[in-house]
């Protein structure tokens, strides 16, 4: 009520004062904009400097990384680091494992997540809401609190120390169900109602109507899951003991702690290689990342 009143008076008042603001308001606006740009530039430097330093250090000689005063840009770029890292570490195996995990987990999460989301968003049956509450409730339950029983469970099934353990761990998260359900609820019910009258089964409605219409949400979920699995450190740390199964995160971490005289320039080359695919994926699908986070976040 009061809001609309404010709106109305605001509207009329603005019309009256519209021609008035001139010089002073504009100069204050320019100062504000300048301050805004300065803040923006400082923040951007703060955000990106570590990445800049990582890439630059990956092109240094081993002894240049720790030189005082700090060398920000090396005089000559040592591209050799990017060749040596492949022969001096198991990068290829690590990347292969990580890629296999990320693709399998993403596929399963999107498939089971969107399927279950349809059940939650469109089917009415007893127990549905309680079940969904259990899904939502787990968002407040940190994985760290049940990682031990989960590990014992999977160890007893002889799944630990195989890549399967990570697939199981990551593929059935509540997050995918949640994100897809939020999106399905924005699709008009009339569409499925019309399809039902045309004789389509619920499964056909999911496959032929909901899936095609939810491509943006699927893109969000795919990207977020892929990046999460690629970056996961704790799951692999606990489950993957065999070095042949290591992911890129475990491999690079072992590179830091195992060698007494770690060649940091080489390590930085490895880190850069591990970050670049994710950066490219993010740049290509930025819109979906942002939308996925904004929708799953706000309505929760």
């Amino acid at each position: 009520m009061t809001e609309t009143q404010v709106l109305v008076t605001g509207g009329t008042l603005r019309k009256l004062t519209a021609p008035a603001p001139a010089g002073r308001a504009r100069s204050r606006l320019t100062i504000g904009r300048t301050l805004g740009y300065i803040a923006l530039i400082i923040a951007a430097v703060g955000l990106l400097a570590p990445f800049f330093w990582m890439v630059m250090s990956s092109l240094k000689n081993a002894n240049e990384v720790f030189s005082v005063p700090v060398v920000w840009v090396p005089e000559t770029f040592v591209w050799q680091n990017y060749i040596d890292i492949w022969t001096k570490s198991n990068m290829l195996v690590w990347i292969r494992n990580t890629l296999f995990l990320a693709v399998s987990v993403t596929f399963l999460q999107v498939l089971t997540g969107s399927f279950a989301a349809y059940g939650f968003a469109r089917m009415k049956f007893a127990g549905r809401d309680i079940l969904f509450l259990a899904y939502i409730g787990t968002i407040a339950v940190p994985w760290q609190s049940y990682m031990i029983p989960q590990f014992i469970l999977l160890s007893n099934l002889k799944v630990s120390n195989t890549l399967w353990s990570i697939i199981l761990l990551q593929a059935f998260g509540a997050f995918g169900v949640f994100l897809m359900k939020q999106y399905y609820e924005t699709i008009p019910e009339e569409l499925s109602e019309a399809a039902r009258l045309d004789g389509l089964s619920e499964y056909a409605i999911w496959r032929r109507i909901m899936l095609p219409l939810s491509v943006p949400a699927i893109a969000s979920l795919t990207l977020l899951t892929f990046v999460n699995t690629w970056n996961d450190y704790l799951g692999p740390l606990i489950y993957l003991r065999n070095p042949d199964l290591w992911t890129i995160q475990l491999g690079l971490k072992s590179f830091v702690s195992n060698l007494f005289d770690t060649n940091y320039a080489l390590l930085f080359a490895g880190l850069t290689i591990s970050v670049v695919p994710i950066a490219i994926i993010f740049l290509l699908g930025q819109k979906y990342f942002v939308e996925g986070i904004a929708t799953s976040g706000l309505k929760g």
Partner: protein, 312 residues
């Protein structure tokens, strides 16, 4: 039986025994509904719900590496009460949260307000702000560890250049290690929360701002009286997520400091990890995990109740 044989909703004439037909339809719907949820639920139930149940059993046993488990009642919890490292881990977790939550809210809201203006380069900046969030913990930890290096690190070099002759020892100092971790985790998270705030800011009615401006409210008054109240749902969600994420902080600390120096950055999750996976005291670790579980659940419930009371 009848459920599978049930006629199509549209095919059957409506006058044939409506009550029975309805219950059959309902049962059929329930079956279909469950069939949608089941593929995900099998995994979810087995890997999340079941472990949580087992956790509560384990916490009352002396479960060890051989899988031998005798019921010990509340002995594990009594031991936790008297365990100095548990107390340290608990208070470090709180210390971390108390620094991390407000700092992240202020920084990410500030960035979102900045980006909500029509400035040039906003799209580029949004990308830049999000970059840390999609970067792996290992890369972040290794890079920042060297940036923080007391003698050779760029951070202290900059500090010395601007006149601070004895900059902090960061990760080598038990006083500064936790603030260093907070700086890194805030740097990492702010892009994510900034996106949430940006989405929230889109819902603030532009007319309201105009009206307040016409009424003579300055920037700060408009922020306090228009923007903040409109952002309440977002602020609530951000606070809940930040709190849970702060209580469970683990991987960043594990790679950056491993709890050190001494126990200065030992947090609850790491205490659980150490007792469980390094010392194989699964029962005792589970008791600590139960504590973490209730800490997160209770604080979340408290926040929900408080939010409801305020919006009522």
């Amino acid at each position: 039986m009848t459920t599978t044989e049930a006629p199509r909703r549209d095919a059957a004439p409506p006058q044939t025994k409506p009550p029975r037909r309805r219950s059959a339809l309902r049962r059929r719907n329930a079956l279909i509904g469950w069939s949608f949820i089941l593929p995900n639920f099998i995994g979810f139930g087995f890997l999340t719900l079941l472990p949580v149940l087992i956790l509560f059993y384990m916490a009352f046993t002396n479960w060890n590496v051989f899988g031998k488990a005798d019921w010990v009642g509340i002995a594990n919890f009594q031991r936790l009460m008297g365990d100095g490292s548990f107390h340290v881990a608990f208070w470090n977790t709180i210390y971390y949260s108390v620094m991390h939550i407000p700092l992240t809210i202020v920084v990410s809201l500030g960035l979102a307000l900045l980006l909500n203006n029509k400035l040039r380069g906003v799209a580029f900046f949004r990308t830049a702000a999000f970059f840390p969030y999609i970067t792996s913990i290992v890369a972040i930890a290794v890079v920042w560890n060297l940036l923080f290096s007391p003698d050779y690190g760029p951070i202290n070099e900059v500090l010395r250049a601007i006149g601070i002759s004895e900059p902090p020892g960061w990760l080598t100092s038990s006083e500064w290690a936790m603030p260093a971790v907070v700086i890194v985790s805030t740097w990492r998270d702010m892009g994510y929360y900034m996106i949430l705030f940006l989405a929230g800011l889109q819902t603030v009615p532009r007319e309201l701002h105009e009206a307040a401006r016409v009424d003579g409210a300055n920037v700060w008054q408009r922020f306090v009286n228009v923007t903040l109240p409109s952002l309440r749902p977002t602020m609530f969600f951000v606070t809940v997520m930040l709190t849970i994420n702060s209580f469970k902080i683990f991987d960043l600390i594990l790679v950056m400091t491993d709890g050190g120096p001494g126990q200065s950055t030992l947090v609850l999750s790491q205490f659980i990890y150490k007792k469980g996976f390094e010392e194989s005291q699964f029962g005792y670790a589970s008791a600590a995990a139960v504590a973490l579980f209730f800490l997160c659940i209770l604080v979340t419930i408290g926040q929900f109740l408080w939010n409801r009371k305020r919006s009522a």
